[in-house]
Each structure stands twice: as structure tokens, then as C-alpha cells.
């Protein structure tokens, strides 16, 4: 079994944090994990991508061959579309619907969403709104992790354990917000997928 994820978004959005949540949980479930990241100049508000590979066998490299990703997980719709070609024929794209407009020629959002939803398997999530509903817009990464959770080969209970462990030092309220954000993301994605 192997599961390859391309993470996409805008530098500074927390793309790497989404990947780290999934990587930590996959590791806790006993999988081999490799994750590539982007640092430095590329991080400054530009288009960024990272890769996460989960497998029950040793993983050779951190890069995912083109057109073989099981999941493209994007924190931003324009970036989702930019990396859609990484998808395998059976792959799924999950993206937040909220645009991050830091370029003058940002395309109309309706246009982007229409093209995203025309893909064979696309799931859209209002990540910021759900994070805010959970108690903090900072929890948007957990919404995205939640949205991906029913597709990645990680046990649901592992997510809860790891969220409690990682955020435990920051107090009960933060743990509850993050658990709620995760759950809202999970439900939203399942709703669309169903």
C-alpha cells in the first residue's frame, strides 16, 4: 500500500502544517512517511507545493512522479487547479474554496470553482468559515486535515489522539477548537463525497 499526497497553497498559509498533521498521524499508525517541503524565497507569498508519501514499504524518494498522486490537497483554489495535473486517474482533489488574492490578475473565483468541480473527483470545503465556526480561523489547517482524513489510510482515532497530544500543552480550549475544526472538515468532505 502506498498513498501519495501533493499539498498546494500560498506561502505563509500553513501548507506545511497540514502536511505535518497528516505525516505525524501516519507515522503514529506505523507507516513509513516521507515529506518534502519548500523554504526560503519560495515561501514569500508565492505558489508553494509540498509532497507527502505514506507507505507500508520503504519509500525511495520524496518526489511524486507526475500524474500519480492519490490526493491533491490545496488550501487555495487557484493553487488547487495549478497542481491538478499531478492527479492519478483515480486521484481526488480537495481544496478550500476561499481565494487568497495577492496578485493583480487573480481569475474570477466562480470560474476557478467551476473548473475544479469539473474534475472527476473534486471536493471543496469552506475551510476558513468552518475554522471560524470551530472557534479560530487559525484552525484552518485542521479543517483541511479533517477533509482529507477519510481518504488517507490513517485510523480516525489516531487523529484524535495526535491532536490531543500535539495541542495538549496549549490548553483544553485549543485542543477542543482543533478537534472541532478537524471534525467539521471531515463532515464537510464526507457530505460532498457522498
Amino acid at each position: 500500500m502506498k498513498y501519495d499526497v501533493v499539498l498546494a497553497g500560498v506561502g505563509g498559509q500553513g501548507v506545511l502544517s497540514v502536511g505535518l498533521v497528516l505525516a505525524t498521524c501516519a507515522r503514529a499508525d506505523g507507516f513509513e512517511v516521507k515529506m518534502s517541503e519548500v523554504h526560503g524565497m519560495a515561501q514569500r507569498g508565492g505558489s508553494v507545493n509540498a509532497t507527502l508519501r505514506i507507505s507500508d514499504a520503504p519509500i525511495h524518494g520524496c518526489l511524486i512522479p507526475q500524474g500519480t498522486a492519490d490526493l491533491v490537497l490545496a488550501t487555495e483554489p487557484l493553487e488547487a487547479l495549478r497542481y491538478a495535473s499531478e492527479l492519478a486517474p483515480t486521484g481526488t482533489l480537495i481544496t478550500s474554496t476561499e481565494p487568497h488574492r495577492n496578485i493583480p490578475d487573480y481569475p474570477p473565483i466562480e470560474d476557478l470553482l467551476r473548473r475544479i468541480l469539473a474534475l472527476p473527483r473534486a471536493i471543496t470545503v469552506e475551510a476558513r468559515r468552518l475554522a471560524s465556526q470551530a472557534g479560530s480561523t487559525k484552525a484552518v489547517n485542521l479543517v483541511m486535515a479533517g477533509a482529507a482524513s477519510s481518504l488517507v489510510p490513517i485510523r480516525p482515532s489516531t487523529f484524535e489522539t495526535q491532536i490531543r497530544r500535539v495541542f495538549g500543552t496549549k490548553g483544553d480550549r485549543i485542543v477542543e477548537i482543533n478537534l472541532a475544526a478537524f471534525e467539521l472538515g471531515r463532515e464537510a468532505a464526507q457530505c460532498v463525497a457522498a
Partner: protein, 528 residues
């Protein structure tokens, strides 16, 4: 992360001190060491003014018998080349390891030079890990090899290893080495009469280094019984890309993986005897391929980057390796969307450089012809719209020297733009030249009190010490101004610049405001 595996390997090797200047993709090795040092009280971990000063401090540690690590990005080694090349000739005492991270694909660099050439040039051993576990183990071995052969040892990483995460299994830590000053000062004093002998000694040890590479388990030769056509040589992370594609090949070709240099000649020959052609897969420049190919024709066909079978520029990918292996392209299920606007990196909202560039553009608006030489850092992003404020970026510190050259050649007005950390790294010496000539140029030192691009590290000298430093070099106090860089001050800054552009001599203008990422980092550190 690969970078962190190197740091942990060094700590477990009984490291005494580590030195570095931040640079992507090498920065995280040092960030890890700083954190470790803060928690445990050792090893010494200092950010330095530049890579040269870092390397020289590590040499000092080695001379008194203790282990030291120097960390830098590939272009940093150009700055440290002088101590690096010469350190191969002295009799290294305490293990000295140089961890250098190359950036093929130029994710965050101005070129994609391959540090293995430097190791070859200096005639030392180079380890090239293929994964994070090897990064940890090779770092530890590198210290031992350094002490055994009395040479510095290079550990060469590339972005995809430096910045990718995986599980690393650590083993028993070693104790720190005792203080033990090198006994023979002659072996550290490169007077020509000493250096001739030391150079001969380095040349004499070369066969031993090749023997080390021949025997190393990191250089593994697997000969295939059935396929006598194709042989594969991989180095470093290229092995992963080869193994990724291997299941789709009809048969397993003979394979030599190189993880330790010098090149294991006997193993290469053994491979060549089995094959009609050899495909070389290496990340970076074609080092192994070039040596195999040589200048004269041979019956053996050597394929790789020079032959055009693998792209010469850019990063190696599983797909490029797939093509070189002759495997068919994978079917595309979702075609790439071509008409999307690009989203290049840009200056952060609220960044002080924005105010500096708005002021500069306004001040230069009055001139038909002018030149702005800039430098390396976040502010290089001022080359892109909406600012388009700068016209050059070559290497650390080049702004000031290039501006002086342009002024010497007769252009006016001439502006040099450099960040505070880049100025401390390599801008002080060219400023001396400009002071000596009272050059007709205006230098802007964009002081954001941080090394912004690499994650807002602290600069070696605080912001308040910048102006005294500039004045101490002999800049006329009447033409040295510190102005706060904020939106409400753009007009004021533009006026100061306008005035100084008209002064036919050297002026220095220092727009100052703390990097917003540095503010965040400082608050976070204060909380922790």
C-alpha cells in the same frame, strides 16, 4: 528533515562547536543545533558574519583537537573557498566536517553549482547521503574519516534531502573530545616551505582515500547475471528515483551506487566490464559522467547529462529518470492547466522594504538615466512588479562594488541597495573601497534588523551598531542618514535620497524598521 539529521549526527559524534551563515537549503541544520544548544548548554552554536569567518572558526576548534561542523549553502562555499581549499593542506586535528547544501532547480538561489567539484578540487573525501538515515550516519562517519586522514570532510546535501522529512534511527552517542592542541605548528603554518611538504602528504594519501571509497558499504555494486547491456550508476538521492522506476524495467540492470568520493575506480571498472553502455544518474552537474567519458572515444557508451539523456539544467525527478531509462511516459489523466496566472513570491504586506522602494522610485523619477545595483535577500524581490526598483543581483555584497564600478565608468546617479545582514556579510570591504575614493554613489542599507529571507534570524551585529560601523569606515557624517522606513515616511525618505543623489561623493542612507517576521519570531521566543 535531512538538515536536522546532519545536526543530530554531529551532536552524537561529540561535536564541540558549530558555525554557519543562514542560507536555504542549509539553514535548518543550524536552527536545530541552536535549539539543541539552548536546551542542553552545548555544543557552541554561533551564526557568523559570513561563511568564510564560520569556516575559520571551525578550523580553530580543529586545531585544538575538538570536533567542529560548518554549515552553509552551495554559494556560501564560494565565500569560504579560501579557508576550505587551504584547510585540505593543513593537518586537520579534531574532526572538521563541512555540511554544504546545494540547490539544484534554484528554489532559493542564484545558481545550481555542484559542491562535489569543490571536494574533488580540494582532493578530500565527500559523503553524499541518499536519504535522511544516511545523512545521520555519514555525518558521524565523516568526523572519524576527517581525523583518520587529517583532512576536512565534505557532506554534500541537495534541497530535496535537506528539506524532506523521514524517520531517522539514532545510535549510541560519543563523548566530546578532550582539549588537545595540535603538536606541530608547522603542519598548520602554510609557509611555502611547509606547504610544499603538506601538499605532497595530501597527494600521497590519495590512494588511501580511493581505497576507503572502494571498501565503503555506501558504494555498492550489484552485478546482474542476465542483463549485460545496460549498467546504471547512481549517486546520492538519484538512487531513489532509479529504484522508484526499477519495478517497471524488464530486468534488473547492473547497478553501482556512489555515496562516498573519490570515485571508486575499481568498482566502476568492474561495472564497465559487464556492460555495453552506462547510464549515469546524478543530482547536480555531471561530475561522475564527465570523468567516465573523458576526452577520447571508448567502445563503452556513457549516457547522462552531457549526452542529453538527462536534462543538464534543473532538478532530477523520477520522471526525468524514467525517460532516461527508456520507459514510456505515463498517461496524463488531468491535463496541466496552462492559462493560470503565475503567483511569484513577493515582499510581505507591511514589509519595510516596500516603503524604501517607494521612496527610491520616487527619488529616481527625476532622472532619465540611473542605475540601481542590489544584492541578495528578501529585497531582491523589489526587481519584480509593482516596484521594479532594482537592476542587478549577483552575489553577496556585489551591489556596492558594482555601483562603484558604474560610477567610476561615468554614470550618474548610481545607487547601491543592500540589506543589513548582507552588508555585514560582504558589504563592509567594498564600502572601504568606496570611502577611499569618495565615490559618487549613494548606498542604501535596508536595515530590517534581521536575516529575513531565511526565516528572520538575528543579525550578528544589532541595528544600533550599524551607523557607528559605517561612520567608523570614514563615511562623512553629513552624508550618512538613518531614516525610519514606514509608509508615513516615504516622502521624507525620498527627499533625503534626492538630496544625496545630487551630492557628488559617497552618501549612505539607512532606512530602518524591524522585519515583521522578525517581530513575530522575537515574540514567539519571548513566550517560549
Amino acid at each position: 528533515m535531512g538538515d536536522e539529521a546532519v545536526a543530530l549526527g554531529a551532536v552524537h559524534a561529540g561535536l564541540t562547536a558549530a558555525y554557519a551563515y543562514p542560507g536555504t537549503p542549509a539553514t535548518e541544520t543550524f536552527e536545530f543545533l541552536l535549539g539543541y544548544s539552548k536546551r542542553h548548554g552545548h555544543p557552541v552554536a554561533s551564526w557568523c558574519a559570513n561563511e568564510k569567518t564560520a569556516y575559520e572558526q571551525a578550523l580553530g576548534v580543529s586545531m585544538v583537537g575538538r570536533r567542529s561542523l560548518v554549515v552553509m549553502k552551495h554559494v556560501g562555499l564560494n565565500v569560504a573557498a579560501d579557508p576550505f581549499i587551504n584547510s585540505a593542506i593543513v593537518s586537520v586535528h579534531g574532526g572538521l566536517v563541512l555540511a554544504v547544501a546545494d540547490d539544484p532547480g534554484m528554489h532559493s538561489s542564484q545558481n545550481e553549482q555542484d559542491s562535489r567539484f569543490y571536494a574533488d578540487f580540494a582532493r578530500i573525501v565527500c559523503f553524499e547521503p541518499a536519504d535522511q538515515q544516511e545523512a545521520y550516519e555519514m555525518t558521524r562517519q565523516a568526523f572519524e574519516v576527517s581525523e583518520r586522514y587529517e583532512i576536512p570532510v565534505m557532506l554534500r546535501l541537495v534541497t530535496r534531502l535537506a528539506h524532506s522529512r523521514s524517520i531517522v534511527y539514532a545510535y549510541q552517542e560519543e563523548a566530546e573530545k578532550p582539549l588537545d592542541k595540535a603538536r606541530d605548528p608547522a603542519s598548520w603554518t602554510l609557509l611555502p616551505s611547509h606547504a610544499r611538504g603538506l601538499w605532497r602528504r595530501l597527494l600521497e594519501v590519495q590512494p588511501e582515500l580511493v581505497a576507503l571509497a572502494e571498501e565503503s558499504p555506501h558504494n555498492r555494486l550489484t552485478l546482474s547475471d542476465h542483463d549485460r547491456g545496460l549498467g546504471i550508476i547512481t549517486t546520492g538521492i538519484a538512487r531513489g528515483y532509479f529504484l522508484e522506476n526499477l519495478p517497471e524495467l524488464d530486468s534488473s540492470p547492473s547497478h553501482l551506487h556512489i555515496g562516498v568520493y573519490p570515485i571508486p575506480v575499481a568498482k566502476v571498472r568492474a561495472l564497465a566490464e559487464q556492460c555495453d553502455r552506462i547510464l549515469v544518474l546524478e543530482e547536480g552537474y555531471p561530475l561522475v559522467e564527465r570523468q567516465l567519458r573523458g576526452l577520447l572515444p571508448t567502445p563503452l557508451l556513457v549516457q547522462g547529462k552531457e549526452s542529453g539523456d538527462v536534462p543538464l539544467a534543473g532538478e532530477l525527478t523520477p520522471d526525468a529518470v524514467r525517460q532516461a531509462l527508456g520507459l514510456p511516459c505515463r498517461p496524463i489523466s488531468v491535463p496541466a492547466v496552462e492559462d493560470l496566472p503565475p503567483r511569484p513570491p513577493q515582499l510581505c504586506p507591511g514589509c519595510p522594504h516596500r516603503d524604501s522602494y517607494n521612496a527610491l522610485n520616487e527619488a529616481l523619477g527625476d532622472y532619465e538615466l540611473s542605475i540601481v545595483n542590489a544584492d541578495i535577500g528578501c529585497y531582491t524581490l523589489g526587481a519584480a512588479p509593482p516596484f521594479q526598483a532594482i537592476e542587478s543581483c549577483v552575489c553577496m555584497g556585489a551591489a556596492i562594488g558594482m555601483a562603484k564600478g558604474a560610477a567610476d565608468a561615468g554614470l550618474h546617479p548610481v545607487v547601491a541597495v543592500i540589506g543589513d545582514s548582507t552588508f555585514l556579510h560582504s558589504g563592509v570591504t567594498p564600502l572601504m573601497d568606496a570611502v577611499a575614493a569618495d565615490c559618487d554613489m549613494t548606498l542604501m542599507i535596508l536595515d530590517n534588523e534581521a536575516i529575513g529571507m531565511t526565516g528572520a534570524q538575528h543579525t550578528v551585529l544589532s541595528s544600533s551598531r550599524l551607523e557607528p560601523l559605517v561612520l567608523g569606515l570614514g563615511v562623512d557624517p553629513d552624508h550618512c542618514h538613518v531614516v525610519e522606513a514606514r509608509p508615513a515616511n516615504v516622502q521624507k525618505l525620498a527627499d533625503v535620497l534626492r538630496h544625496e543623489l545630487e551630492h557628488h561623493g559617497l552618501s549612505v542612507v539607512i532606512p530602518v524598521r524591524e522585519c515583521i517576521e522578525h517581530v513575530k519570531r522575537r515574540r514567539k521566543e519571548a513566550k517560549a
